[in-house]
Symmetry: C2
């Protein structure tokens, strides 16, 4: 895996950022990792108005549904989606069972360590890698594979575990919304069964509140016991126009709050905004080249420009990561 | 201490009064519409053992997932599924826009009132009728159509509203399980968007806990606003082997309790039973020809024999409706 090395000074700053003292929760501040500013104020104001009994904007608890994109909104997505790292590791592990991959793209490039060529085909290459690496086992087996991988795999640049690269300010938003009667959902283009094994421990979001892309599964009986086998065939692609479809299928009511960071999230934000009554849409703008990554028009697998433009033109809340967030990554409590 | 003895006749009248009134919830009986017997005992014992702290069978709250079939388990399904009545009413309403239906089966037979011929093709005929009558509108429009219909439509034999033909004893089971920390889900072969508009009011089950069959939907923009349009194409058939698939997709964990009444439910019961730890499977056996319908091998659209046989051979709890249920249908509180 070859990524451009950071200059030593950047590495030092990154090091400082990682180990800076955690902001402490004050009793009166549910969002201690947020600097005061328009984004924090907008979040607090929205929650206050929909939860105040007697307010014209009051929303009953069952209707308090908030949806969150995952990659780039709840955790880092650079230099590529975490699930892509998982897929590549799986491809290498599975090579002994698939000697033909040595001469077959995009597998051959993966095995040579040439990611640039492997992913030159964009989402289609990723799709081929995901199907090859995410199917053929039972759902129980896949859950164990993901759990084992996520417990140990490290990000190639930060050397942190991926689940330690979730955004502390967003963890506070999740906890705050739930404390105010919201159900919080993930609505991600990522694999639903890639996320579920760890979202409850990391985000406090149970499996039944995770919506994502999926492969088809098939019921089989093995030694008299029913198992669900994962097939190498897409069942649902939960991105772009698929996000409102997935929300409708899984939740069956329109969210009143939505959080995203890319063009893939735009239809979900539009769908949320189009409901009647109070609505809240938030767009995470990656502006911090030192503590995270700065990018706002293009990512490896998708564009970001329409989402940002529409967020700006419609006056949605835009998070400027560099200025709005005191801390970027999850603060691990020392024992 | 001296208590005045009651005359025997007063005691007798008190006794009569107590047992004449509709079954009322006693503080110590969460299932007042159930006669004492093995089914009631099995339900109470299971819930007690999984909710008693320190018990070897204790199950933490997040894992307390119970799934319920709808047709024939929570409400009546005779002489045919309620949704089939809905489809037929819609076909008649839509005729002006579809003059070709007059010469086209199964529509022509429906319009002549000859249901037997219309449904001679079994589930395939029903599928054609459902696709024609359940698509072409937005999800919001369909929700309103269902709400309007279910509020007024009456069962052709009982002349009751369909939502008054839900089973009182099962309403008590749903409420009891929820009071004990369970999340209750519907897992039905019926349409997910046919059920959601009324399940919260009738069963206390919110839309996000309803799993069912679905048509594909597509995001469109109409006058600048996003809508989801229902397409005449099956997205998912949530019956038979589809039920474990639907459970896995929507819930992402294996239920510990499952309730059904047909071969369509058998894989869901098997999937539930195959998990580790305490499990509860209940099969509703329709044995009451006077108060409901008696059928146990064949229904209009599906078979029941394998489910009943397996329930018997595996020792699952079998409800004998005639003997186990004091009341069949929902008890409507008089104002």
């Amino acid at each position: 895996m070859a990524f451009k090395r950071r200059p030593a000074c950047v590495t030092f700053l990154l090091f400082v950022a990682l180990f800076q003292v955690a902001p402490r929760a004050r009793a009166d501040d549910p969002l201690p990792s947020w600097n005061d500013g328009p984004a924090k104020t907008a979040i607090l104001d929205f929650v206050a108005k929909v939860t105040t009994t007697g307010s014209p904007d009051f929303v009953p608890v069952p209707e308090r549904i908030a949806v969150f994109d995952n990659d780039g909104t709840l955790w880092a997505e650079q230099p590529m989606y975490v699930q892509a790292f998982f897929a590549l590791d799986r491809i290498r592990q599975l090579l002994p069972q698939h000697p033909e991959w040595k001469d077959q793209e995009p597998f051959a490039s993966v095995l040579r360590g040439d990611l640039k060529t492997a992913l030159a085909g964009g989402e289609q290459s990723l799709y081929a890698l995901v199907m090859a690496s995410h199917s053929g086992m039972t759902t129980d087996e896949f859950e164990k594979i993901v759990k084992d991988w996520i417990a140990t795999a490290k990000h190639p640049i930060t050397r942190r575990r991926y689940t330690d690269m979730v955004y502390q300010p967003m963890l506070e938003v999740l906890a705050f919304f739930r404390a105010q009667g919201f159900k919080t959902y993930i609505v991600s283009g990522g694999g639903i069964e890639f996320m579920r094994p760890w979202t409850e421990a990391v985000y406090g979001i149970p499996p039944e509140q995770v919506i994502g892309s999926s492969v088809k599964t098939k019921l089989e009986f093995r030694e008299g016991q029913p198992v669900l086998v994962r097939l190498p065939e897409l069942n649902f692609f939960d991105d772009k126009a698929g996000k409102p479809v997935g929300i409708n299928l899984h939740i069956g009511r329109r969210p009143i709050a939505a959080f995203g960071n890319s063009d893939g999230d735009l239809p979900m934000l539009q769908w949320t905004a189009a409901g009647s009554g109070p609505r809240f849409c938030l767009y995470v703008h990656h502006t911090d080249a030192v503590r995270e990554w700065a990018y706002d028009r293009q990512s490896l697998f998708g564009k970001l420009d329409k989402g940002l433009d529409e967020a700006q033109s419609r006056g949605w809340t835009i998070v400027n990561m560099k200025d709005d967030w005191k801390t970027i990554y999850r603060v691990i409590e020392k024992p």
